[in-house]
Point group: C2
Chain length 362, copies 2
């Protein structure tokens, strides 16, 4: 990964914002900037006139891991919380304002910052600076995401073959997760959703011990983390004889999902992508059952910028990677969701998820 | 679960603190108070003179789940972020101060609160109010924790039998996680640690694709979530012929761990429990290699209050459930950690983890 370029671009960005010193505490941002993948640490970026310097603070549990992973930053193993050590370093730098990640730093930590800086540094809420870099994936990131998406798709056939009436949803999830591990995944990118029968009407139906019924929809929504990058996909299949109404539901979601994908290209507002699918569901009479937004960015985190939701004005740019995942959920009956990951290209889009979306009945 | 009692105790507590209205956004706290286990929602507790009222806010994805799970609170499915809806409700209540969870609410959300309340409500940082209730587990919680700990221990023999030189650490983790799922776990309580050979010197060595070497320590540190409650255990085993020095390392950690457990009883400062084990490691000449704290509380979250660390003054109380997990880590050689979960009882302690701690060589 090209950490040096990320670090320089961030330094330029904070100079523009007249912050000159930025505290980075959100761990995916820390990882993006210097490669550290552990669960405790903070970065301090000081951007002076003659260049910038980056220092990484962690504790004794991560001495070896920091040495192995961190690039482009001085490593400090602090005998105190990383936040405290970073602020002491900031106080010693010739800077006036200390930026912090307002969307992540808890209010209580802000109070600590205030007390530690004793008025010697102006605290400046800074939001989204690293996220703004992360939103457009570079070539190496796109390759990692492709590999994660491919692995996710590769796991689908075996998951399908685990689906049988009477089998617990968790058994399907277990088979999926075992295969993910065996194939080298770091882990799952979120709690696996296996929602069968009436439970498929739950948009977030984490796999439960309930058995798959003789007839109905089953939503599988899962992702893997591979070399730090997440995948996310959803397919809905049907067990038992399918009614005309269920078939109509499936086709409406399928059509809406394809319309969403077709709307993806540089310059288009994410709200317009959301609208494209929503209008299809409206003409089919299902819009009241589409109770969530259309999608989200994916990268080091399973949910990141941009949001694809009603009324969003943010414009798509090449290098963004987003999900397109409309769904309809009829309480007491069932639900359907179909989700792919899509890369915004210079001229349009590329669907990353290779798995077929034709209705599968088991 | 006795949600009504938790709700009343919290209401009494906030009346004492003259807050009268508390916004709860930290999801484990939301779950503790009303049972909601989804991933988006907030609670507003208004405590007036004549009683208290609790309202739960979430979005359309959780309509059914909220209806199934939430107890003792009015449910509002809001067409806007739960935080916004909750503040609007707070503005309508006859209250002057709105407390918020300062340790969790990001600074940016605090700014939103400030803008939404337009000076009509005084915002009061409140920290640890729900955590103070959660720190002492009630009988029903202790039973759930016992079940989770038992399940964790039950998984150990099969994990052991997966350990062989040449097998990837992830393969051991995969076997463990599959069995956990099959036994009904909601999931793992943290990323499974399988750290073999020189990797055992990493206190947080998540299972990697590295193969287990012919000789050395292997640390297994894992936990399950069962009915919402976490377990946490660590055992270290040795493959291949063990040197006298490795045997000495193991015995020192074992002795330190037992000393830590023996120090657990009501009224004892958590810092004293940490010291008990640390002194054993000091006399054995290993204290410089014990680079983390002794333990932490466990419940709905894998890491919760109290902290068992150097100099901590908090006193143990009956009903607390903590880990005791000293370790030593020699870079380039290997490490040992042994961890049990321990319940503080009226007269002393009860070790919850039934798995033997005698040295196992494979």
């Amino acid at each position: 990964m090209d950490y040096a370029s990320r670090q320089s671009r961030l330094a330029a960005e904070i100079r523009n914002k007249k912050i000159s010193c930025l505290l980075i505490t959100h761990l995916p941002n820390v990882r993006y900037l210097c490669g550290f993948s552990g669960s405790s640490g903070a970065l301090l970026l000081v951007a002076g006139r003659r260049g910038h310097s980056l220092t990484f603070f962690t504790d004794g549990r991560y001495t070896q891991q920091a040495g192995d992973e961190v690039q482009g930053a001085k490593i400090v193993i602090a005998g105190k919380p990383a936040l405290f050590a970073a602020v002491e370093r900031a106080l010693k730098s010739s800077t006036e304002a200390l930026g912090f990640e307002a969307e992540y730093l808890p209010y209580a930590s802000f109070q600590q910052l205030r007390s530690l800086t004793r008025g010697q540094l102006r605290l400046k809420p800074a939001a989204g600076l690293v996220e703004q870099l992360r939103i457009r994936k570079d070539a190496e990131e796109v390759e990692r995401i492709r590999s994660a998406v491919q692995l996710g798709s590769d796991l689908f056939p075996a998951a399908l073959s685990a689906i049988r009436p009477g089998v617990a949803e968790t058994e399907v999830a277990a088979a999926l997760e075992l295969n993910a591990r065996r194939a080298g995944a770091d882990g799952m990118s979120f709690e696996t959703i296996v929602a069968a029968g009436v439970r498929s009407a739950l948009p977030h139906g984490r796999a439960s011990r309930q058995a798959i019924p003789a007839s109905g929809f089953i939503i599988l929504d899962y992702g893997v983390i591979l070399a730090g990058y997440c995948s996310d996909m959803t397919r809905t299949v049907h067990v038992g004889p399918i009614s005309a109404e269920h078939r109509r539901m499936y086709e409406a979601v399928h059509e809406a999902q394809v319309a969403g994908i077709q709307a993806v290209r540089p310059g288009v507002e994410t709200g317009a992508v959301d609208r494209a699918g929503r209008e299809i569901l409206k003409s089919a009479g299902y819009d009241a059952y589409f109770t969530h937004s259309t999608g989200h960015g994916v990268g080091l985190e399973i949910h990141e910028q941009p949001r694809l939701a009603k009324g969003q004005k943010q414009k798509l740019e090449p290098g963004m990677v987003v999900t397109i995942e409309p769904g309809i959920y009829v309480p007491g009956d069932g639900g359907v969701r179909i989700e792919d990951m899509v890369l915004v290209t210079d001229s349009g889009r590329q669907v990353l998820t290779p798995t077929s979306k034709e209705l599968i009945t088991l």
